[in-house]
Symmetry: C2
Subunit: 101 residues, 2 copies
């Protein structure tokens, strides 16, 4: 997978309203899927889909306990996303140069 594809995948975690709602809930601590499902107005397979995207991006990590799955925000994943965002939006002034003017 190219770097750009990989980076785009990380940010996809933050591109959907429902996923932002889920992240907001996880900010107050680990939650099991059942609680997330209860508070969101979506079907169970839809939640499962969003949790997969959040976990694939590395922003959220799952913890399985018996029948339940608990989800929490990964500090490491958050830091990685933050570093990527900073890199992407910081102008590299050592190579600053004009353009067709």
């Amino acid at each position: 997978m190219s770097d750009h594809q990989d980076h785009a995948q990380v940010f996809r975690a933050f591109c959907d309203e429902n996923r932002l709602m889920i992240l907001e809930m996880l900010r107050t601590g680990e939650k099991c899927a059942c609680i997330l499902l209860e508070k969101m107005n979506i079907a169970q397979p839809t939640l499962s889909h969003h949790m997969r995207i959040l976990c694939d991006s590395g922003i959220v990590v799952p913890r399985k306990v018996g029948k339940w799955t608990y989800y929490s925000i990964s500090a490491k994943g958050g830091d990685r996303a933050k570093d990527m965002l900073i890199t992407l939006t910081t102008v590299d002034d050592t190579s600053e140069g004009g353009c067709c003017e």
Copy 2:
């Protein structure tokens, strides 16, 4: 527009490979659309579409000079995105609490 919709829109800037390529080019300084178009393997209306999304997200700002439009990364837009990302991925430990276990 809801907060979540608004936030999702900002991160949408980073969810597409072509937009990440554009941002990478803008990291070395302001570029006019013609240069970006020349270096990307996409049609002109497609570039225009991506530039609109980048500008709407606040990450990129346009500067019109005669017939040309120059685009550059907005430090302010980048900072806003960074702050949003940090908020979204930081666990609020004052409200840490268990969940259904």
